[in-house]
Symmetry: D2
Subunit: 346 residues, 4 copies
Amino acid sequence: MNFASDNAYAAHPAVMAALNDANSGAMMGYGADPVTARAQEAMREVLEAPEAVVRFVSTGTAANALVCAQLSPPYGRIYCHDDAHIETSECAAPEFFSHGAKLVTLPGTGGKLAPETLARAIHVGAGVGLNGGLNAMVSITNATEWGTVYTAAEVAALAAVAQGAGLPLHMDGARFSNAVASLGCSAADLTWRAGVDALCFGGTKNGAMAAEAVVFFDPAHAEGFDYRRKQAGHVFSKNRYLAAQMLALATDGLWLDLAGRANAHAQVLGEAVQAGGGQLLQPVQSNAVFATIRAETHARARAAGAQYYLWPDKSAEGLDPVPLRLVCAWDTPEADVAALAAILRG
Amino acid sequence: MNFASDNAYAAHPAVMAALNDANSGAMMGYGADPVTARAQEAMREVLEAPEAVVRFVSTGTAANALVCAQLSPPYGRIYCHDDAHIETSECAAPEFFSHGAKLVTLPGTGGKLAPETLARAIHVGAGVGLNGGLNAMVSITNATEWGTVYTAAEVAALAAVAQGAGLPLHMDGARFSNAVASLGCSAADLTWRAGVDALCFGGTKNGAMAAEAVVFFDPAHAEGFDYRRKQAGHVFSKNRYLAAQMLALATDGLWLDLAGRANAHAQVLGEAVQAGGGQLLQPVQSNAVFATIRAETHARARAAGAQYYLWPDKSAEGLDPVPLRLVCAWDTPEADVAALAAILRG
Amino acid sequence: MNFASDNAYAAHPAVMAALNDANSGAMMGYGADPVTARAQEAMREVLEAPEAVVRFVSTGTAANALVCAQLSPPYGRIYCHDDAHIETSECAAPEFFSHGAKLVTLPGTGGKLAPETLARAIHVGAGVGLNGGLNAMVSITNATEWGTVYTAAEVAALAAVAQGAGLPLHMDGARFSNAVASLGCSAADLTWRAGVDALCFGGTKNGAMAAEAVVFFDPAHAEGFDYRRKQAGHVFSKNRYLAAQMLALATDGLWLDLAGRANAHAQVLGEAVQAGGGQLLQPVQSNAVFATIRAETHARARAAGAQYYLWPDKSAEGLDPVPLRLVCAWDTPEADVAALAAILRG
Amino acid sequence: MNFASDNAYAAHPAVMAALNDANSGAMMGYGADPVTARAQEAMREVLEAPEAVVRFVSTGTAANALVCAQLSPPYGRIYCHDDAHIETSECAAPEFFSHGAKLVTLPGTGGKLAPETLARAIHVGAGVGLNGGLNAMVSITNATEWGTVYTAAEVAALAAVAQGAGLPLHMDGARFSNAVASLGCSAADLTWRAGVDALCFGGTKNGAMAAEAVVFFDPAHAEGFDYRRKQAGHVFSKNRYLAAQMLALATDGLWLDLAGRANAHAQVLGEAVQAGGGQLLQPVQSNAVFATIRAETHARARAAGAQYYLWPDKSAEGLDPVPLRLVCAWDTPEADVAALAAILRG
């Protein structure tokens, strides 16, 4: 029973089938193959963005950090949430790729930035002069690191603040599919129509082996990006295998279907937490549950073989109640979900 | 008929099967899975190096550049051949990853460094002081960028020079398998027994989708490497899919078998070139042929649909004879090889 | 009446005299001159550290950032105070020089880190794994950015925490002289005897034109540092002029005398603030006063031509009381100090 | 008798006087002082470039490397001569500051690039794709590293090639004054009128202590440059002392006068070499002589206390004739010049 992370789970059969389909004969390398072209086109269709520049990389850290380096100079200030993945979980990759950009982290309820918080920070940043660096970009995560979801209107409000200061807006969408599935809106509504300039559209956590799409809605933002990607070792010679994964997800709405399944699992667990007297730390809006449960319940879950992280502090063992994170994937076995739910209900 | 590059070809069925095998259920991420452990062990067995640290990345550029950053400080001098892949074909990734290290390139017949050339350069480098930077490491490619192969004795001679100056020796082995297949020696003989400290053991050009192993024979050289890899976005969350590819190649000598097939194709083409009055620019020792052929022969090959690069200058079209590069893969169709050979024979 | 910064003030006549003394005839460049040797020796004597490696650079940002790059890998975590100069005022130079190191900032009263805060953060950092990077070093500022001073015992307590985790301790001593003058201890007591590994000993704010000494008490920490400094453009060809400034300050205790003068000015202003009903935000322990004063008093000071920054937010104009920072230098005219003090007293 | 380098010599009395003049009372820091404003204006007048952006830094390496980082992305190709100072003598600072840019070095007689060589290289570079990086800029040195001088027409010819490819042209002018003095043209003719986009105008080797001016003739090229300079630790808080040096040199043509004196010394030595049967390796066009002299003459020069470097290989001792470099400064004692000339004449 693995609820540790959605990246603990497997690739979808359709992804494997697409890899097999792509695996025949010779094709020109470095993205000049027909699979890549089709996958790029499919992503543009999903996003209703016919002019967008779409590139594939193999990890979310690469996707995010390359975008940061693309949109911020070394002396730039990148505004993000205190708990943003780019701040907490990428080993300073944005700083490394950008050659020094400063992540200016901001508090916000439920993992979300409020427009007024952002506006205030950008205002302060505009006054720090050479000492503090130059306002460069804003980055948000959707779904967030706390499993919550920005609505299109919330994204638009942040985008308006960013645009007002001339700053591009990046969306870390490692779990973008879960956000769209949760909201029932279109991918376009949640991104470029709301003012997002660059999107990292995650595949890995949603049925791919290792594939993410980097999308620049305005091609001007992508200038030189292929060189940057190459210099970072993120241009695949056999790019078809990266592209095939995203092509499979983009076909027939598979990305949305899988994300919906993972979200549904989380709903089950979230309700079980509450039924059992636990507390949700955040509303369950995507594929993760953040909650506290009784130590006794935790002990029974562990005894039943449930794997998950105590959260946010992995060393919280011994507390009562116990804070934890439960993450579901499209292929988390229903039996596992049911079994853990039963334990949580008590 | 694609002879443009070995990376134009597909993944071997055994690789696909290994991916399918790995694709079941939940496993802990970031390399803490059993597939990764088995693949690392398999690589250590191939290399007869039970203490070696083995890590997997998805591109050769990442593998080489990460090793450069690991073994050279930003102010280091990295000695390599004028035509080394790290110099000509990685978009300055070694400089980017290392934060400034200088590639000091040296001439050498057939893509190979001579010990006396290296010794002389290291001696000069030891005298350049702050102006020129600090001698840091030596990098060679085997098989080389010109399709030739360093023997174990030749590697040992270079390693002796490097060691005499206290410098570690890196081997870019994007086509390491082809070198071993060509020489008939053991992988150990050609690496650590000859004095190689770090090896990039290529899978991508030899039947994988996108997988390379970075091997440090002395664990002390690997200190902090996982952080470096993570910061560069080259740690896969679902590492099993990277590992599975190398595991398949390492199993039952598949890596050697596939490389031998590619090499054999090149032999056929090399002989055909000579039979047809063309000139080999280098002896055919691995899976590539560097030659000049008559313009008329070239025209017939193109007319028959043969894809390959004029070499080293892609804009050499119009010359007579025409210089070119023909690269074979394990799965270059025998019919294609035969067809091109027939044309080359005239 | 300039109380904006100590770097608004001039160079001491003895510094100018030393420059004139050094300005005769030819000397070998890049530090191989007798002035440099004498200045290094003088610094070692001031610090009672005969084995220390001493190098000169021209800015505090360079000094601090070079030390960060020297003691932290790109994937390192550098612990410092929320208000540390390296975090707030160096345009992400530490991240740039180190190629990505993460400044982990911590709260602390009066600009000072508490040992338990540091210990807790280091403990957390030891558990973040690849995601969060590797614990690398600790940096403190003395005198602090809030004008307070760490005692030798306080430094030792922090050093014990750092050493317990195997981390080197850096002291940003842009106003180190003011700290020593304030405490009446020895420079050695406040640094290496207390466990400091690397010191940036400021000259610029204390009577030099542009000169700082970087001191590594253990030569092992300085390995390769000269290359690093050169690569960053911080090796002067005519190094004698950098060295001469520090030589003048190190001679006959001038550094301590000048710092004492600046500190005394601040005492006068601090007492005036309190006499006039203002509030000290921090005890006055070095050459700066952080306080709130009545808006009316502020208006009179401005009308009298007093220059200073509202603090920490330069846009605080309009508040009542007004928060501000007053910084004194060795050569702030006594008349100016007296005039402002009179206004502050009301 | 020091002929090792022009940076072995002292600062001119007018520079010292300017420093003394600047050394009075409080001025706002970081360049917001009247001395800086006057010095910038003076440089613009010298260059007849009223719109130019002028900034001061303390070393030539900083000046050049900051310009490279400003004009080239990390994945850029920077074209320069094989013997360019940025390639041979700055410890890979351009790579460090730019975060990876590749110096593509080209041969050329007398340290000078020929337009056709440059054009060919740029053409090749335009075809290397992601593997080789993106054509970014051209850098030349004037006076060159071999003491020769590009005429305005020669610069214009190179600029035409660069502009034709859309690449900015940088001039490393560590000895720019010597070039202007040698040619008798105007500074404007040799720079922006000939198509130079960025100039590093050296002061250190020509009578300053440590001061260089970075000049962008088109302000658009300077966007963000102050942040870059700050992040590299090259913004002086007491900027007046940097500016004062350049102000002194720019006043009343002192820069040209001093360079002329140094050049004249070199003429004397060059003639003496020839009179004594030595061979000039390059025509003497600035303040350095590159020549071979008889071993016996060399021995007598050494015995008389003459300091200079064997060149280009400092370990050439023992050869007959001996290749060497003699560099003169504005204040190389005439008696020393005469004494060495006498020895050279034999």
